[in-house]
């Protein structure tokens, strides 16, 4: 029997290719690292992360950092005398703040527009369509510039600012009513944490969910009655050129939030529309013939089924929103990337800094996709799991 010569044996060839490719990649990485290192040394900037513990010496307009004060770890505003790593922390804090708020709001808007795209009402339908097309076909960065320079900075100053439902909308940002700890806060804290824990447990443990959520609700309500006014609503009020009370959303934060929400919602709308349209028409007809009205059909029949299709691409959009928040540098909102820019300028550590920044974004992405996957496993059909 004639044997295949080794240089034509597909198994040998496969192993050989892999060895060659890995060697090439290893050599390439080594070469890249080596050249980069030498290039940096010859420019007099050795590669080191020790700068992280040096004093930053610049200030950051908003956000908080962690610090050790009197033996306790506290969350407080960033100060110029803090270290570079604390500046990075403030950046992460601000990125998370705008991303989480953005994810919540964009989901609401996106689902609304997506359902609007399918509405039998001609006006609503066309309006949603125009919104999606206009927003998706222009760059996010231009929209961000427009919102910041063209809309928010052109709002009236505080004195002439308009007030809606307790909110004050002005050039200096948006002021919203905000709950602040009241007299009973310390007494309420254990109840609050216990209730939260019960809700969290319920979210992950499917069998006892209803009981746990009931317990959580009970804890929150009973604690409220026992402690008496744990929170009071602080409503913003104009005092001359200033606003007192409430919470201030800075103009930069508002612009970034608005741009991210409006932009991502147009993508979410398309996902929602696609998912609803992919359901067979019979589902609608069956629900109608059972006597459910439009809203009930949507709520009990269509959306639960559409959710299974929606969740994975929706998670992708959440990732995109978080990554896109790095454009905040263009309007000066101190997110992670913006803070990095300042640090790189000040310390000259651009390469080390960008590696840290990329690492942080990567971990954020992995966290979000892990959360979305966990949720997806819950809504997915049993047996449809692969």
């Amino acid at each position: 029997m004639k044997t295949v010569p080794f240089y034509k044996n597909i198994k040998v060839l496969g192993v050989l290719t892999q060895v060659v490719v890995s060697l090439l990649v290893l050599f390439g990485l080594y070469f890249l690292g080596r050249t980069a290192y030498e290039g940096m040394v010859s420019r007099g900037i050795p590669f080191t992360f020790s700068f992280l513990w040096q004093e930053a010496g610049f200030s950051i307009s908003e956000g908080k950092t962690i610090a050790l004060e009197g033996g306790r770890i506290v969350l407080r505003p960033f100060e110029p005398s803090d270290a570079y790593w604390q500046a990075f922390f403030t950046g992460v804090y601000n990125t998370l703040r705008v991303s989480i708020a953005g994810i919540v709001l964009t989901t609401l808007l996106g689902v609304m527009v997506g359902v609007g795209r399918l509405s039998s009402n001609w006006l609503v339908n066309r309006l949603s369509f125009a919104y999606v097309e206009l927003v998706r076909n222009t760059p996010l960065l231009v929209q961000l510039f427009f919102w910041y320079f063209g809309a928010i900075l052109k709002l009236p100053p505080i004195r002439q600012a308009s007030e809606w439902f307790g909110m004050i909308v002005s050039q200096r940002g948006v002021f919203v009513p905000w709950p602040v700890p009241g007299p009973g806060f310390d007494r309420y804290l254990p109840f609050f944490l216990g209730g939260l824990l019960a809700f969290l447990l319920g979210a992950f443990w499917s069998r006892g969910r209803r009981g746990l959520w009931l317990l959580g609700l009970l804890l929150l309500a009973a604690g409220w009655l026992y402690a008496g006014d744990p929170f009071v609503l602080s409503v913003p009020e104009k005092r001359g050129f200033r606003v007192v009370g409430g919470a201030q959303l800075s103009p930069e934060f508002s612009a970034v939030l608005l741009a991210l929400v409006v932009y991502t919602a147009s993508y979410i709308a398309e996902i929602v529309r696609g998912a609803i349209q992919s359901l067979p028409k019979g589902q609608w007809e069956a629900a109608f013939s059972l006597g459910l009205n439009y809203g009930q059909t949507l709520r009990y029949v269509i959306l639960p089924q559409a959710l299974r299709i929606i969740v994975p691409p929706l998670g992708n959009q959440y990732l995109n929103l978080t990554k896109n928040s790095s454009l905040a540098i263009a309007v000066g909102y101190p997110d992670l990337f913006n803070v990095y820019g300042t640090i790189a300028n000040q310390s000259g550590r651009s390469l080390e800094g960008i590696l840290i920044v990329m690492g942080v974004y990567l971990s954020l992405s992995l966290t979000i996709s892990a959360l979305v996957n966990a949720y997806n496993r819950r809504v997915a059909l049993r047996g449809a799991r692969r």
């Binding site: 496969g14 290719t17 892999q18 490719v21 890995s22 990649v25 890249l32 050249t35 980069a36 290039g39 940096m40 010859s42 420019r43 509405s119 039998s120 009402n121 001609w122 006006l123 609503v124 309006l127 097309e133 206009l134 998706r136 076909n137 222009t138 760059p139 996010l140 960065l141 231009v142 929209q143 510039f145 427009f146 320079f149 063209g150 900075l153 052109k154 439009y294 990732l319 990554k323 896109n324 790095s326 454009l327 540098i329 263009a330 990337f337 651009s350 390469l351 960008i354 920044v357 990329m358 974004y361 990567l362 992405s365 992995l366």
Partner: protein
């Protein structure tokens, strides 16, 4: 009467819908009125014609502007030639009509020389289209790749008479998009093939690269390329900014393209591979002649979507200081003569991007229909 019946059916069927219509109509009226009043009474649109050249070509020297026209003529000729080969006749009418309307819109703004230059470039495109139609279809198809290669080289050669630091505006945006797409595509193809490969090391390396790049924002990749590229060349050699910017885009876009191509590859059934091997084709032949054509055909809409994304994302150049269309807007706004005209300028920039992106997505939909995707 028919209009009334239509309104009753589509706007006022039921209490809930009537309410919805009224609320929406009121909002639309309030917002639309404010916008129209602003656009026709307050807005100072003169800023656009006054800076039209800056928006289009940036600081490109006026005396060398013929180079842009020649490059545009070559580009349109390439597009015309491709259209003659690939697209069916009836869509050309639509394309010509859109181009004509845009030309008429821009006409009052353009200099007399620009009016001529545009016409000449369009003429070159039409000529190439006729040429493609008159030679044998098979030959025309064969010629497509070499013609694009030579044409691109020629266009760049012509433009290079002016150093790339002085390219700007829409011109630079289009050039950057073109090269980012053209260079990222082969890399993305390789990554996709690598990720679907049965060899564990190669698949792992490709997956690692793709997931790493997809997990971080574009700006950080751009910055990394920005910082790293100069480290790899001799210190006295300055890498043009544009090259550094495009390098970052290629690294980033390749990872996304790879994922779309992978989707297409996974849609090709195993039987295709086996049939090709049974016919005695080699691995390389199987991939190039059997698998890729089927895989790419399925994902053309997604790929064009990615081209649109790259086109929009080139606006991020403004962050690393390359003079693309958006940074020209910044330049105009920093001129004391045009202070406070942010709305007009950014709306115009949005309009330009919208035209580009919307026409590409129109093209994608037509292509999808022409190829009978989802029907075969």
């Amino acid at each position: 009467m028919r209009a009334l019946a239509w309104m009753k059916r589509n706007l006022f069927n039921g209490v809930w819908n009537t309410l919805l219509t009224l609320v929406t109509a009121y909002l639309l009226y309030a917002v639309g009125r404010a916008i129209l009043v602003w656009a026709f009474t307050e807005a100072r649109w003169q800023v656009i014609p006054a800076n039209f050249r800056l928006f289009m070509v940036g600081p490109f020297p006026p005396e060398a502007i013929w180079r842009v026209w020649v490059a545009l003529a070559i580009f349109l000729a390439l597009v015309g030639f491709t259209a003659g080969v690939v697209v069916r006749r009836r869509y050309l009418g639509t394309a010509a009509a859109v181009a004509g309307v845009l030309y008429l819109l821009a006409f009052p703004v353009l200099l007399p020389s620009s009016r001529l230059g545009l016409l000449a470039a369009a003429f070159a495109g039409g000529l190439a289209w006729l040429l493609a139609g008159s030679i044998a279809p098979r030959l025309a198809r064969r010629l497509l790749a070499p013609v694009w290669f030579l044409g691109t080289l020629a266009a760049i050669q012509v433009l290079s008479g002016v150093p790339s630091q002085r390219w700007g505006g829409l011109l630079l945006t289009v050039i950057a998009t073109f090269f980012a797409v053209v260079l990222a595509f082969p890399l993305g193809l390789l990554l996709a093939l690598g990720r679907t490969s049965k060899m564990p090391v190669i698949s792992l390396l490709s997956t690692l690269y793709i997931e790493l790049v997809r997990g971080v924002p574009l700006v950080t990749v751009l910055f990394l390329a920005w910082i790293m590229v100069p480290l790899f060349v001799p210190e006295d050699f300055r890498v043009p900014q544009l090259v550094r910017g495009i390098a970052g885009f290629v690294l980033f876009a390749a990872a996304y393209l790879a994922e779309y191509v992978r989707g297409g590859l996974q849609g090709v059934s195993r039987g295709q591979w086996e049939a090709a091997w049974a016919l005695g084709l080699s691995g390389f032949q199987t991939v190039v002649f059997i698998i890729l054509p089927q895989a790419l055909r399925a994902v053309i809409p997604a790929l064009i979507g990615q081209v649109i994304a790259i086109f929009k994302d080139t606006s991020l150049f403004v962050i690393i200081g390359i003079m693309d269309l958006l940074s020209m807007a910044q330049v105009v706004l920093s001129n004391p003569k045009f202070l406070g005209l942010e709305r007009e300028v950014y709306l115009f920039v949005m309009f330009v991007y919208f035209l580009g992106a919307a026409s590409l997505s129109f093209l994608s939909r037509r292509l999808e229909a022409a190829m009978g995707l989802g029907k075969r």
